[in-house]
Symmetry: C2
Amino acid sequence: MNRVERVRAGETAAIARMISRIERRSDGVADELAELHRAGGHAHIIGVTGAAGSGKSTLVAELTAHYRRAGRTVGVLAVDPSSVFTGGAILGDRIRMSALSGDTGVFIRSIATRGALGGLSRATLDAITVLDAAGKDVVVLETVGVGQAEVDVISAAQTVAVVSVPGMGDDVQAIKAGLLEIADVHVLNKADRDGAQKAYAELRDMLRLGRGSQGDWEVPIQRTVAATGEGVEELAGRFDAHRGWMSRSGELDRRLKRTAATRIRWMAEEIVLDRLRAGQPEFDREVDRVAELTTDPLHAARRLLGESAQLDVMGAS
Amino acid sequence: MNRVERVRAGETAAIARMISRIERRSDGVADELAELHRAGGHAHIIGVTGAAGSGKSTLVAELTAHYRRAGRTVGVLAVDPSSVFTGGAILGDRIRMSALSGDTGVFIRSIATRGALGGLSRATLDAITVLDAAGKDVVVLETVGVGQAEVDVISAAQTVAVVSVPGMGDDVQAIKAGLLEIADVHVLNKADRDGAQKAYAELRDMLRLGRGSQGDWEVPIQRTVAATGEGVEELAGRFDAHRGWMSRSGELDRRLKRTAATRIRWMAEEIVLDRLRAGQPEFDREVDRVAELTTDPLHAARRLLGESAQLDVMGAS
């Protein structure tokens, strides 16, 4: 079997190697990803986000264990650009997760920042493609924070859960405000703590004021205690309900198209920048002509992109 | 006369309007810029950079006054992404410059951040094209700081002056280290201050250790007191000497090519992103196909870029 076939057969080592190839942009990986993309479309892609300290990693571990008990295969991608600061907590959770690591039905991977955040976003989306093509029933994308890069990544999820905890004060308010737009399900974790009822009421009020429903999907608030597993089965039920609603309502198609548009744009940028590389004769020739003023950047770029690229740019004819 | 002709005739109002059109990306401006690009190539483009507090704006004002006395026309572009913080100082210097503002041989403009820094860099390079085509003998680009955006911008200059002042301690060292690579001329401003001799000796030692010469161009250190105009004439002489060396040595060609390469790349990205816009039938059709898994982002992007774009990307065949 070739690399793509091994991934499609769900071989853990092949999945890990393919994601490493993505991170390194190894030779041939673009074609492999193209093949994997066409083999996917099965997985439910769930994004879980929230502030550091919200117990999100523990929640993801419990959720994974729940899915496994239900006979569903799971891929987990932890995306944390700030992991150098929270390494301890993540390590602890990863050790917790390692109880699952002998299980070939689970694949867990942290994706670290290598260079630009844009690169991280692309690598993460490509890793989703791999896990989907490998036949995972559920792919969980775990991200921290509310930066643009995280929003880009989480936008690739079909169901987005935003995790908050009682008593984190104004910080949490800020995060909730930033993430309110993208939450399909709210999770109030550590719901056995003091102040949980107050936090629940605040969240509920915020949902009433803001976007608390999308069409006929009422954004629910699920209380959990990730440390004991309480509420985790119900949360998985919420996710299934959301996926069902997504399919019925046409919202799933809309999100798949949005992600497809993003990926085509990223790929086109990559192809173009790759093409316009010093040392390529046609690029160097245009550079000379622009430097000598016998042409200009607009017409040079148009020629390099081919005649068919002569579309309207900044109103150019 | 049309807009391009008015700019080429050096009309101040036409220059100002054209730069506003660039900032707003008005209809037709890409073609106008292409025409202006081919009409340029005359101006000496000088970049002046250094930390806030180095007196760089006062220096630019004095330099401009010097050039005017020598009968040379001048365009000044002040690029300051952090101007919200230093607005007071800049305003003060601009008022100082306004003594020159009745003079049609001078054009002064601040370019503010509108959206992304990438947008600022592009707008600045386009504004240089306008001032060059308008027949300015000298275009001075004034930037603060050492971020990547500033380095991108300053790279468009033919002669780069890095301004430092005595007694600013480690901060200045850091800045000097960051900018050492790109300095063609060092300016030690406020050279009448205590510690000027020590600062001069430090700069000289640093130049000896680092890149203090490029080919047979020895990077000079010019002492100035911008507030009194002392050393400004000599500084202008250094710039002329550098321009002469650039022409003779072939370095000017090298830099023009580097800038041309950057501009072609930026323009190509813009054309591509413009083309891959929702609502364009061929883009939407590819989005649908990627979402339905009948194709993948790589092949969709290739088709959208035209057959000729099928070059090697990430090792794809």
